[in-house]
Symmetry: D2
Subunit: 318 residues, 4 copies
């Protein structure tokens, strides 16, 4: 593995390179509270077993705190697998990427009864309904704090309220799932938990630590504690690879090739096969909902540190 100094250098270059692209993105607008951010902000951290490196662009001294949004779908999946087992979870949600088809025009209702995978809204609402009756939000917050190595993790009340006020579409999805018998606990309560989990607040260092745990087979190298069972890590990493970046997952897999999950708050968590985690904050999003600067950072790091899962040699094109 590269030495910390090399990583720091690469990270600095990556963020400088990526900062040129933030102006082409837009901060999330579907929830008013999310608009109140600096679109050119860009922060990235690498979490190693024994150290941590951060680089900040244009956002002052402190690490910005932001809501993790869809990254919480990974946590819901982990907890659902842990409490319900793999058979049950995947009886209610699939494992397939959900891109729009070219030569198939079938509608939802004709093609499959289940959400395609647990990393899209419908799938995560299903997994959340599974854990809703098992675990309290307080316990989920505690688990998330461990996973992100962030004792300060908390609910952003303002975002949570804003999410609630603009939840009509997600509520529509939840009731559609209920009509198909896919909600395993109360619809409105499950949706409330889903919105709370989206509104959990941490920073890029927290996401980097989460990536580190996933890269370390589920063990937190700092505490030595096994936070996630190995087989769950395998399932989660595979789904992050195929479905983690919304409907840009396929291109991201080709260009970057690191299992990652993004959120519309601007966060990305990535876990490398080299054993370290990467956490990003960059609220300017591309048209798919991924941090536009964050993707550029990961492209740069993948190339210069040879992190792509199918990298062959130095004969890189892109």
């Amino acid at each position: 593995m590269q030495k910390p100094a090399e990583l720091q250098q690469a990270l600095r270059e990556a963020i400088t390179y990526a900062s040129r692209y933030t102006k082409d993105g837009q901060v999330a607008s579907y929830i008013p509270e999310l608009c109140k951010t600096n679109p050119s902000a860009l922060e990235a951290c690498i979490s190693l077993p024994d150290s941590s490196i951060c680089e900040i662009f244009n956002t002052g001294r402190t690490k910005t705190r932001f809501t993790i949004q869809s990254i919480s779908k990974v946590i819901a999946l982990i907890l659902a697998l842990q409490t319900q087992g793999i058979e049950y979870v995947f009886s209610k949600v699939g494992m397939e990427p959900s891109g729009d088809p070219f030569n198939s025009l079938m509608k939802l209702e004709t093609s499959d009864e289940r959400p395609f995978n647990p990393l899209i809204n419908t799938g995560a609402i299903v997994t959340t309904s599974m854990i809703n009756s098992e675990i309290s939000f307080k316990e989920i917050l505690a688990f998330s704090g461990e996973l992100l190595g962030d004792a300060d993790i908390s609910l952003n009340e303002a975002v949570y309220l804003s999410e609630n006020l603009h939840s009509a579409r997600n509520r529509s999805l939840a009731y559609l799932l209920a009509s198909k018998g896919l909600m395993t606990s109360d619809v409105d309560q499950s949706l409330d938990l889903y919105l709370r989990m989206c509104s959990m607040e941490s920073n890029a260092a927290g996401l980097a630590h989460m990536g580190l745990v996933l890269s370390s087979g589920g063990v937190d190298p700092v505490s030595g504690k096994q936070l996630i069972e190995g087989w769950i890590v395998r399932v989660v990493q595979t789904l992050m690879m195929t479905c983690g970046m919304y409907d840009g997952s396929g291109e991201f897999a080709v260009r970057v090739g690191i299992p990652s999950k993004s959120g519309v708050g601007g966060g990305i968590v990535a876990c490398t096969r080299q054993g370290f985690g990467i956490g990003i904050y960059g609220p300017a999003l591309d048209s798919k909902g991924n941090s536009i600067g964050g993707i550029r950072i990961l492209e740069y790091l993948s190339f210069f540190l040879n992190l792509h899962g199918f990298a062959q040699d130095s004969d890189w094109k892109f």
Copy 2:
């Protein structure tokens, strides 16, 4: 890496295990010529840099020859990337898995102008139209012979004729692509080349050799010749991982985790990160169009030989 004797043993067990499932599948019926096969046939080969292992179940002494069908899409993609470059190829075809969406119901024409990826029919018709004006079928056959290490590769005339007689749907797709300006050479000629490539005939040993070349960074370890450039191997392996097994690619990635491509003739090519290739023949297909026995063989091997790209430890579930 495991020793050949261990691989031979694992392969024998895998094929025995998988043979129980062939009765749940169906041979392809959309082309009459493909129906004329023994549904319980099952053959698997592993190709190592310096040796080759095959196991045959229920099919007599010789290695069955069969048409590679959709596996030719990988060859068309390789040749398109080689002759046209990555920018051009992906200006006409995407990189996204094409699963049907759950919460999106958009039609083709509203969501994207390009086929989703080069490993579905529409995408492969596009890449084939790119090489149609550059390379003759004879040259493609020669290249495929090298890639599969099979000097006897040939066009199965009966299947090719049968494909042609039942090509209305593919012709419809080709003209739809043409109406969007995505065909770069004559429509009917391109479709003819596409059908010829689908009708190329080899065997499981040939597919194993193709997997070996992909696992070896594009170099044929036997001849030492670089058949495919490294960056193309990276792109191709990633797309095989996310899109190689039709709309069962996501589940296959979770359960097996080896970049693979299947064809409705019953073939599968797989390339392991451990540096060997696997070739399968099993014409009984599951509902997605993948060899039902072949998938079981690869599941077994992935588990016992620890081939999954995101395998964490021995704590396996499935």
Copy 3:
């Protein structure tokens, strides 16, 4: 116009003819309460300005009371047009047949921001949300009683409760509409009103009277009172013609050619250009959700009484 005796004779023949088809249908099953009906029941009434004729098959002496279900969509449309005006109503809902099943949400995602028309679930939820803030259910019940000439019209509490317990899909539709800004009053309240209106209970004689009012330019010939303005009758009759029989409206228009609206409770209301109304009760439904016997009755009457809007002569085919 035909004399009452001739109508009585035609009605008797029609019901005998139609009774052979009820065994091919199914009573509605999506709400448990609706299952508790006699599938072979068949009743039909003709309401003339000065008299009324009924024929009953297989259901004993009294006129069966049943919930009007989707026929209430016509009442919601009338009241929305009356209170909001044509411009406003059709700014939130279209006038086009959708080609999709009545409870589909597909078109909302694919092609238009508005529901296609006010006679499918999504469209009627929109019109109901318009009247929700204007008129109480008690007032709607009173208006409906006048329209159907049925002083006994009432809410079927058991069906209403059953509807509520199985309202997930409709609630999903309502929140989807809300997410698009198409609900003009509280979502849950509007849905409650929608379900209440579906659960209003009358009989075939009531529906025949409603048909008579529509056939008489909105005037109740008995009381002489103008219940509906003329321009609203024109709009409503046209939409009944193009969209009244779910996704079987086109075929019904060709075969029968009388503006009609059906409900899954087994009711149909039809209004002839000859100035009389027809009301049907036949709970066995075809695959589109229309009374299978009811359609046969109307086909028979259309042919023998020459009721088709585009009938040319006696050279009938079907």
Copy 4:
């Protein structure tokens, strides 16, 4: 019925009123040859049993000749019904409005194996394939000449060539239909006939005469000859009412209420229940593909001459 002088007056007012709207439309651009027209042209004719009235706006002295395009779908339907019978025709094509654009292939994939109706491209390609083996184009031209009362009807060779050069999408639709077993004669020949019929050239007076024949139960009042059987007229008029104006048919039915069929060449044929026909030429189209001025002419006439099929009284709104 109104006297000719009144009709002439109404027609003059209608065309003046409508001429203000042509600037909001666009001439068809999908075929280069169709672009070469004067977008502000507007011509309308009324054909009565014993006389004919025309008004021309902005197009000089002579009646412009133009290709009838989709209006030929009505002719193909008439001939298919005449030669194959109603059962057979509607075993291969439906009677339902599709809710989709005229050249859509979506419904073929999603909901039904047959095209939704014979007045959209897919449906008309099916009916054309039925007559292709029965009648020569020359005979069709002769029949069309009688129907339009236009001895000069002819094939516009330039448009036909242009159609052929831009036929990829229609060819795609034809092969998709073939793959479903819905083409009853050679695909390319049937498409050729379809394109020839679209390229038949007449004028507004011809379309008015066609409307007159349809309004007269299929009899040409001039010659006294029965050109179309009565039951076919009923079927055709109903389908014109529900599906004749592309995916704007529902709104047109509400606003105008006269069975009509439009073509992207700018023509509209309309047949009134009052027994006269209307023919329009106005090449500026609205977003659905209907003559934007033509629709305004028909709205005006429907209102002032009380032509709406469900008109109740003078209490008109729109």
